[in-house]
C-alpha cells in the first residue's frame, strides 16, 4: 500500500534528462513519494537509449533505460522554455515539496526556472540541482557526459587498476556510474533539506556537483596523494596477493585474501599444499612480489573445480571470493530469487519487463513497484488538468 510507504505524501517534480536526477527521484518514488516526471514534448533522451524489446526497435515508449528509471512516476510533457508551459510548471511546483532537475545552468536560467526565479515565488520548495561541476567555479558551465565526470572526478585515472596494459587508456566503468553516484548523493542530501524544512518551514537550493561526488569516493587513491605525494595509477600490480580475477574449470572467480587468517583458510581449502609454506609466500606482500610464481600454483588447483564449487568452499571458509558473473548468472541467481530481488513491470507497450528491484528491505514500509513508467504525456490530463485553462489544451 502506497500510503504505508516511508515517503508517502511527499510530492516531487522531476525534470531529469537521462540518469542523474531521474535515479534520485526514482529512489524516492520507490519508497512511496508521488513523483511527476516532466519531459519535453520530444521525450526524454533515455527513451532513445534502449534496450528495446524485440519488435519495438527504437520505440520511445519501450526503451529499457527509461522504463527502469521512471517506474512508479507519473509523466507529463512540458517545455519550460515556452512561457505558457513555464507557468504550468510553476503551478505544479506550487503543490510540490521537492523540485529536482539536472538542466544546465543556461537551460534553467533561460527558461526562468533557475533557483532564484523559483525560490522567490515558492520559498518553501526544496530545489535540488544536479550538475556535472556545480553552479560556481571556473568549470561550472563546462559540458559533460558521464565519461567526462568519471574523468574529472579522478575515477578514470585509477581504473581498471591492477593492470599491466600500459597502452590501454584510463577506463570508465560500464553503465553511467558517475551519473548514478551523483543521483544517490542527491537523493540523500535532498532528504536532508526536507528535514531542515521541517524546522524552518523554508526550502532551499541543494546543489550537487557530480565531479565532487566522484572525488569524494576514491578509496585510498586521493589520500595517498595528499598524505604521501604518491599518484595512484590504473597501472601496476597490487603489492598484496592474491587479490585478483583467476580462472576455474568453467569460468572466472575473484580471489581475495586480505588478513593472514584468510590466507591460512584458503591454503587449507586447497588441501594444504606444500608450496604454501615456501618462504616466498610468507605474507601478503611477499606473495605480491612473487605473484608470477603464486598465480599458476593457485590456478592449478582452481582449474580442478567449478566456479560454484570454489565459491561455496570459500563461503564455508568465510573468504570474500565471488564469481565473475555475466548478466545471465546474475538474473538467475538463486540467492536473488530467494530474496525476490528482480521485479516484473507490466507495460502497455513493452509488455512484461524484468528489472532490478529493491536494493533494501525496510521492515515496516517496504519498497514497491506500483506502476510502470509513464507513456509520453500519459498523465497530462490527470496532473495538469487542474491548470487546463492555463495549459490551453
Amino acid at each position: 500500500m502506497a500510503t504505508d510507504q516511508a515517503l508517502a505524501g511527499l510530492r516531487v517534480v522531476e525534470c531529469g534528462g537521462m540518469v542523474s536526477a531521474a535515479y534520485a527521484a526514482k529512489l524516492m518514488a520507490d519508497l512511496g513519494a508521488e513523483v511527476v516526471k516532466v519531459e519535453p514534448g520530444s521525450g526524454d533522451a533515455s527513451r532513445r537509449r534502449g534496450p528495446f524489446p524485440r519488435g519495438h526497435d527504437d520505440d520511445p515508449e519501450a526503451s529499457g533505460l527509461f522504463l527502469y528509471l521512471n517506474a512508479n512516476k507519473k509523466g507529463v510533457t512540458l517545455d519550460p522554455g515556452r512561457a505558457q508551459d513555464r507557468e504550468t510548471l510553476l503551478e505544479l511546483l506550487a503543490d510540490a515539496d521537492v523540485f529536482i532537475h539536472n538542466l544546465s545552468i543556461d537551460e534553467a536560467t533561460g527558461a526562468g526556472i533557475d533557483y532564484a526565479s523559483i525560490h522567490e515565488r515558492l520559498p518553501s520548495l526544496v530545489y535540488t540541482w544536479v550538475t556535472p561541476f556545480g553552479l560556481s567555479g571556473p568549470h561550472a558551465r563546462w559540458q559533460a557526459e558521464n565519461i567526462s565526470v568519471a574523468a574529472a572526478g579522478g575515477w578514470a585515472s585509477v581504473t581498471p587498476g591492477n593492470s599491466l596494459l600500459a597502452d590501454e587508456p584510463p577506463l570508465v566503468a560500464f553503465g553511467r556510474q558517475a551519473d548514478f553516484q551523483a543521483a544517490a548523493h542527491a537523493a540523500v542530501v535532498t532528504m536532508g533539506a526536507l528535514f531542515a524544512r521541517k524546522r524552518t518551514g523554508r526550502g532551499q537550493l541543494v546543489e550537487v556537483s557530480a565531479q565532487e561526488c566522484i572525488a569524494a569516493a576514491l578509496e585510498l587513491a586521493l589520500v595517498n596523494f595528499t598524505y604521501t605525494g604518491a599518484v595512484a595509477s590504473r597501472l601496476g600490480i597490487r603489492t598484496s596477493a592474491p587479490m585478483e580475477i583467476m580462472e576455474c574449470k568453467d569460468g572466472l572467480i575473484f580471489v581475495m585474501t586480505a588478513d593472514p587468517h584468510q590466507w591460512d583458510a584458503f591454503v587449507h581449502m586447497m588441501g594444504d599444499p606444500e608450496w604454501a609454506s615456501w618462504e616466498i609466500f610468507d605474507d601478503r606482500f611477499k606473495r605480491g612480489e612473487n605473484r608470477d610464481a603464486l598465480r599458476p600454483l593457485i590456478e592449478d588447483w582452481l582449474m580442478a573445480h567449478t566456479v560454484q564449487e570454489v565459491f561455496d568452499m570459500a563461503g564455508e571458509a568465510r573468504l570474500p571470493f565471488a564469481p565473475v558473473s555475466d548478466v545471465g548468472d546474475l538474473v538467475n541467481s538463486p540467492h536473488l530469487k530467494a530474496r525476490g530481488f528482480f521485479v516484473r513491470a507490466r507495460h502497455p507497450v513493452a509488455g512484461g519487463v524484468t528489472m532490478p528491484g529493491a536494493p533494501y528491505v525496510l521492515s515496516e514500509t517496504p519498497w514497491s513497484l506500483r506502476s510502470p513508467a509513464p507513456l509520453l504525456g500519459q498523465h497530462n490530463d490527470e496532473v495538469l488538468g487542474r491548470f487546463r485553462k492555463k495549459v490551453g489544451v
Binding site: Q5, P51, L65, Y68, L69, S136, P138, A140, W142, Q143, A144, E145, I147, A151, W155, A156, T159, P160, P169, P170, L171, A173, F174, G175, A184, A186, V188, A196, Q204, L205, V206, V208, S209, E212, A216, A217, L218, L220, L222, V223, N224, F225, T226, S233, I245, L252, F254, M256, A322, P323, V324, S325, V327, V331, H335, F341, M355, P356, P359, S363
Partner: protein, 407 residues
C-alpha cells in the same frame, strides 16, 4: 537568509551509532555527519577498523590514528572504544544505542544478534530506533552468511564482466565500488525511515544488500538480458550510440583526455576545429556512420589530441560546447583550481597527523553552510563524553570503567 536559519543543520539532534567496519558503513554514516547528525563510532581494540591498519600514513609512520583512509571516511564523527568481549561493554553499547536514533552495522547476517545487539533487543529498548544492516548479500537468502568485500561484489553484480577493454577480459573498476554505493543507498533508506518516524513515532529495521544496491544501478547491463537475452559486449570507453566517445592520448607522459560528441551538430563543430576536411568526410557525418567507422574516427581524434596538451584541448572544445574533460589524476584532483575555489577540500587539525587535505562535502545548501565539523577521531577520543555526558556516569564510575578496561 536570517542568522537563525543559517545555523539549522538538517540532521541536528539526530544521534547515530555506527559499529560498522571498512568503507560501506562508514561511508553511510559520513553522509549523516555531513548533514549535521552526531555520529559516534563504537570501536574495539581486538579488531580495530581495517582502515586504521592500512596506509597511507604521513611520513610512512604507521599508527592506528594516522591512516589517511580512516581519516577520510570518518571525518566529523566521534569514537568510543569498548572492549566488546566484556558483557559490561556490550551493556554500555546497548544503553547508548537505546538513547540514539540510528544504529548502523555491517557484519554478515547473524553476527550482530550473537553480540546481543540485534534489532529485536534494541527495538524493545528504543522503539524509535532505525537500525541499518549493511551487509554484502543481505540478511536473507542462501548467501546471507557469506562475507563480502566491495571489489568481489562488483564481480558478482555483473559490473566486472560488463566493464573492460574491447577484446579483453572482465575488469575491476578501480575502487571497491560495492562499498560506497551500498553505503549511499543505506543512507537514503535510513533517512526515508527517519522521515516516516516523524509521522508514526516508530523506527524500523533496514536490510541493505550491497550486491543488490550495485545491481540497482546496472539497468544498462541487466535489461538487455531480460528484454532481449543479450549481454552487452565489453566496449572500453565507448558508448552504445555516441561517437567519438572515449579517452584519448594527449601530449606528454601518460596524459589523457575524455571526449564525448553527442550529436551531429557537435560533430560538425568538432570536425571544423580538427580541420583537414574532416567536417566534409562522408564517413562521419551522421552518428550512425561514425559508430560504424568508429576505429577510423577515433584514430583521427587521437592523432589530433596526442599532439596537444589536454587542458588546452579541453578549453578549446568546451568553448565550442563539446564535452571534453582531462582525465584528472590524483594530483590534478587535489590541485584542481575549480574544486579548490568551490571550497570542496577540507584541512582540519588532527592531533596525530596535523592538517591533511581531505575530500569534503560534495553538495552545498543555500541556507546553511555545511562544513566538516571535526577531523576523524582518534580511537576512543570521545570515551569521556559518551560515558559521562550521554550515559550519565560519574567521574568515579568512568575511572572504574577505564581501570577495568571496559573502555
Amino acid at each position: 537568509m536570517s542568522l537563525q536559519l543559517a545555523r539549522v543543520l538538517p540532521l541536528e539532534g539526530i544521534r547515530v551509532i555506527d559499529m560498522s567496519w571498512m568503507w560501506a558503513g562508514p561511508y553511510c554514516s559520513l553522509q549523516l555527519a555531513h548533514l549535521g547528525a552526531e555520529v559516534i563510532r563504537i570501536e574495539t581494540n581486538q579488531r580495530p577498523c581495517m582502515n586504521r591498519r592500512v596506509p597511507p600514513y604521513p611520513d610512512g609512520v604507521p599508527g592506528l590514528n594516522r591512516g589517511g583512509s580512516f581519516n577520510q571516511w570518518n571525518q566529523g564523527k566521534g569514537s568510543v572504544l569498548l572492549d566488546m568481549k566484556k558483557p559490561e561493554a556490550v551493556g554500555l553499547a546497548r544503553e547508548l544505542i537505546a538513547k540514539s536514533d540510528v544504529f548502523i552495522e555491517n557484519y554478515a547476517a547473524g553476527v550482530i544478534d550473537r553480540l546481543g545487539l540485534g534489532y529485536d533487543v534494541l527495538s524493545g529498548l528504543n522503539p524509535r530506533l532505525v537500525m541499518v544492516s549493511l551487509s554484502g548479500y543481505g540478511l536473507t537468502g542462501p548467501y546471507r552468511h557469506r562475507v563480502a568485500f566491495g571489489t568481489p561484489l562488483t564481480m558478482i553484480s555483473g559490473l566486472g564482466s560488463l566493464s573492460g577493454y574491447i577484446g579483453r577480459g572482465p575488469s575491476e573498476v578501480g575502487i571497491s565500488y560495492g562499498d560506497p554505493n551500498g553505503g549511499l543507498h543505506g543512507a537514503f533508506a535510513l533517512l526515508a525511515a527517519l522521515w516516516k518516524r516523524e509521522e508514526t513515532g516508530r523506527g524500523q529495521y533496514i536490510d541493505v544488500s550491497q550486491w543488490e544496491s550495485l545491481v540497482a544501478i546496472l539497468p544498462e547491463g541487466v535489461l538487455p538480458y531480460t528484454m532481449r537475452g543479450e549481454q552487452p559486449e565489453r566496449m572500453g570507453n565507448r558508448d552504445f550510440f555516441m561517437a567519438p566517445h572515449g579517452i584519448y592520448r594527449a601530449l606528454g607522459d601518460d596524459r589523457w583526455i575524455s571526449i564525448a560528441v553527442r550529436d551531429d551538430r557537435e560533430w560538425q563543430r568538432f570536425a571544423r576545429i580538427i580541420g583537414g576536411g574532416l567536417a566534409e568526410d562522408g564517413r562521419f557525418t551522421k552518428q550512425a556512420d561514425r559508430k560504424a567507422n568508429e576505429d577510423a574516427v577515433e584514430g583521427i581524434v587521437e592523432g589530433w589530441t596526442s599532439q596537444r596538451d589536454e587542458w588546452l584541448v579541453a578549453e578549446q572544445l568546451q568553448a565550442a560546447g563539446i564535452a571534453a574533460v582531462p582525465v584528472m589524476d590524483m594530483r590534478d584532483v587535489a590541485e584542481d583550481q575549480h574544486m579548490n575555489e568551490r571550497g570542496f577540500f577540507v584541512r582540519l587539525e588532527h592531533p596525530e597527523v596535523g592538517r591533511q587535505k581531505h575530500a569534503g562535502i560534495p553538495w552545498k545548501l543555500s541556507e546553511t553552510t555545511l562544513t566538516v565539523r571535526r577531523a576523524a577521531p582518534c580511537m576512543g577520543e570521545d570515551n569521556e563524553y559518551v560515558i559521562k555526558e550521554l550515559l550519565g556516569r560519574s567521574e568515579e564510575e568512568y575511572q572504574r570503567l577505564l581501570d577495568e578496561q571496559v573502555l
